[in-house]
Symmetry: C2
Subunit: 150 residues, 2 copies
């Protein structure tokens, strides 16, 4: 139930974002990845952002339709397609807000350091337990700050 509420909160925020800045959460994540990785293929993008290629293609369709991204077919390997930010996309991205609610970030940052670490490692641990099919449960110890992560 709690996880579903988190999913919903993120989704609702994404839709609010979309009204205010013209970009949804997933679109924002994809564009940030393109900016970070440079001249990147769809495959690399979908790996990096943890979504299927089909989903990345669909989101890129919309970004391209709106003029924020262009596709360029690779010349060395014609199977590959590279995504690039347009000037407009780069500009929009620069002033777009974060894919998490500001009020959540504020609250999180007000917590003690050890509390932040605890919450983060709990989520990472649940993720690991859900994604590793067979591997035994092991504590997750790598911990960073929510704001400089990603």
């Amino acid at each position: 139930m709690s996880i579903r509420q988190i999913i919903r909160a993120i989704d609702l925020h994404s839709k609010k974002l979309s009204k205010e800045s013209g970009l949804t959460g997933p679109q924002l994540i994809l564009m940030r990845s393109i900016r970070e990785l440079g001249d990147v293929t769809i495959k690399e993008l979908s790996n990096k952002t943890n979504m299927s290629q089909a989903t990345a293609t669909a989101i890129l369709d919309r970004l391209e339709r709106n003029g924020y991204v262009i596709r360029v077919r690779s010349t060395t390997d014609k199977r590959k397609v590279h995504a690039q930010l347009t000037e407009e996309g780069r500009h929009l991205l620069a002033k777009a807000p974060l894919p998490l609610q500001q009020s959540f970030i504020n609250k999180f940052q007000k917590l003690e350091e050890w509390e932040q670490s605890l919450l983060l490692s709990s989520v990472q641990r649940i993720s690991a337990m859900m994604n590793a099919e067979d591997i035994d449960v092991a504590p997750m110890l790598e911990i960073g700050s929510i704001t400089n992560a990603e």
Copy 2:
């Protein structure tokens, strides 16, 4: 990133479920709620399951189309519509698996009691921080077992 991985793991499991048992995660959740609440309205269902009425209507459409649920218009208040499980739906539900991966449940149950509590309260706390717009952060202390919850 970790939260997105959790969301994805739940979604992938839901689609696997759907192939095996004919019901997706959300459909399962809705049907369990109907069984639990009895002769329940769409509004009550959407509150209980934390989804919008529009979403509940869409999921019920599919459940009704497949013959697992029927809609009955209320006689005392004709705005309301009650959802009921059919015999087939009740039967299917009885043998349907849980909306979480069994391997996750196994791993979770192998953890120490205090670790289970810690993970659960962490998730609940994040949910509270994301959903309460203005309220200050307060520790969440109510903790139950993952299996008898819901």
